[in-house]
């Protein structure tokens, strides 16, 4: 289940983040290190909401709340 979520999250990243190098991205990658900024984070959050049929709370719509991809993964799993 977690593996499936991880795979779907990676697909979203490939679609939403320009020039992302998939081979260098792990779940421990920091969002800032892989080129995710405040604007691209919102695009990713919108795509996650659609893909996983969930809603980010307003206070969690900020890139500062998620240091790594793993943090996003855990957030999706909790929902």
């Amino acid at each position: 289940m977690l593996f499936d979520t991880e795979k779907r999250l990676m697909e979203i990243l490939k679609e939403q983040v320009e020039d992302i190098d998939e081979s260098e991205v792990t779940m421990d990658s920091k969002l800032t290190d892989i080129g995710i900024n405040s604007l691209s984070f919102i695009k990713i959050a919108v795509a996650i909401e659609k893909e996983f049929n969930m809603q980010f709370e307003v206070e969690n719509l900020s890139v500062e709340n998620f240091e790594t991809l793993k943090n996003i993964l855990e957030y999706i799993e909790k929902k």
Partner: protein
């Protein structure tokens, strides 16, 4: 709080000169203001002046009504025209108003009185930088590789040149990135000349923005002057904000009085704006919400400063309380971005509810600040201590010493 760690070092060697910058500017929604703040805030002596001003918000309902007529297709191509929400009085940072002239020596060279030549312009600019002058000008940004406008619609845009490199044959200037944050970009001398003398921009646009076809502004910090830091004035301006009073009446020696909606009433104006634009299926201007965020961020900084110099009791935790409002304004800005991407109408209700919450959260904190601000306990070691205080305060101040 403004942090001198954000000031870059001056660098001088044979082929290279870089003047210090406060980077990024704490207020950058307005490029002309960001440029001048980046220069001005390299001097700590300007901080009491900075914190004593830019307290108000002003919603320009006239521009808003004009923009309702503005074609949606044009907005998609050119972006939104003018800002409808401002931190007031940001206009004082325009070169025409010279509001920062207390700390600025500024010389404007324009083509009405000065002849600019392609052959000599670069070497003249190098001389100006060597003499410690920052250079502001307008360039046709569609001619500037490395910017988001490159090869786009020809348009002139403010830039700040603060460094040159003779080996790489380039200047360094400040600009916005695609995500709206500020960045530093190198510009080849050749590209600079093409952008400066570009014929692609209609002369009327150049005249409108620069008052002449070409111009260079030469700016240097003059920190021999002092600012009269006045706690009572700050209390008045904060009260204007809470009472939604037209603060432009207080600045009428410097600026023309401006109609508009001021202070906490801007939230109702923004809610009306959201409802109107939504009913017309129009786009919401994201910049309005970025301005709200910058205003809250600066208010937190202001309160931290007041606490640091002792005019506000830090045990009251006012800056800490206000940082929660700042966080909420950041959330709101993100929510508006989400709406921009999804166009889900139900998000508009959330946006309106967040605006109302920000308004109700900040009111009591600002009111408490006004009640508790006092010049009696000013720290002797603070920067204000070294400056002239206005005459009514000076007596009290000397008594403490």
């Amino acid at each position: 709080m403004l942090d001198i760690k954000n000031i870059t070092q001056e660098v001088t060697n044979e082929n290279y000169k870089e003047l210090p910058l406060y980077f990024p500017s704490p207020i950058y929604y307005s490029l002309y203001a960001a440029i001048r703040f980046s220069i001005l805030l390299t001097s700590e002596k300007t901080y009491p002046w900075f914190y004593s001003n830019f307290i108000q918000l002003r919603f320009d309902n006239e521009i808003f009504e004009n923009q309702l007529q503005y074609d949606n297709e044009k907005k998609r191509k050119l972006g939104f025209p003018d800002h409808i929400l401002h931190i007031y009085p940001i206009e004082v940072m325009k070169k025409d108003y010279k509001g920062a002239s207390l700390f600025f020596d500024e010389i404007n060279l324009n083509s009405n009185i000065f002849q600019f030549k392609k052959e000599t312009l670069i070497s003249e600019m190098v001389d100006y930088l060597n003499n410690g002058y920052y250079i502001t000008t307008h360039l046709d940004v569609s001619k500037l590789p490395g910017t988001r406008y490159y090869n786009g619609i020809p348009t002139v845009h403010s830039v700040l040149i603060y460094a040159y490199d003779l080996e790489e044959k380039c200047f360094k200037h400040t600009d916005f990135q695609n995500n709206g944050s500020m960045t530093i970009i190198k510009i080849d001398f050749e590209d600079f000349i093409n952008a400066f003398f570009s014929d692609s921009v209609p002369e009327s646009q150049r005249i409108e923005k620069m008052r002449s076809k070409y111009y260079l502004g030469l700016c240097k910090i003059n920190d021999e002057n002092t600012f009269s830091f006045d706690v009572e004035s700050i209390k008045l301006l904060l009260s204007d904000y809470l009472n939604a009073s037209n603060t432009s009446k207080r600045y009428n020696l410097l600026l023309p009085e401006k109609r508009g909606i001021y202070g906490v009433e801007v939230y109702n104006a923004i809610i009306k704006y959201i409802k109107t634009t939504s009913s017309l299926n129009d786009m919401i201007d994201y910049r309005v919400f970025h301005v709200i965020y910058e205003h809250k961020k600066m208010m937190t900084c202001r309160f931290e400063y007041f606490e640091s110099i002792g005019i506000l009791d830090s045990d009251l935790n006012i800056s800490k309380k206000f940082s929660a409002v700042e966080k909420k304004a950041n959330d709101l800005r993100n929510l508006v971005l989400k709406y921009t991407y999804t166009k889900e109408k139900n998000i508009l209700n959330l946006i309106i509810s967040e605006l109302n919450e920000i308004c109700s959260q900040e009111r009591p904190i600002i009111a408490e600040c006004i009640n508790r601000l006092s010049s009696d306990k000013i720290h002797k070691s603070s920067i204000v201590d070294q400056m002239y205080l206005n005459s009514s305060m000076e007596k009290q101040y000397l008594n403490i010493l």
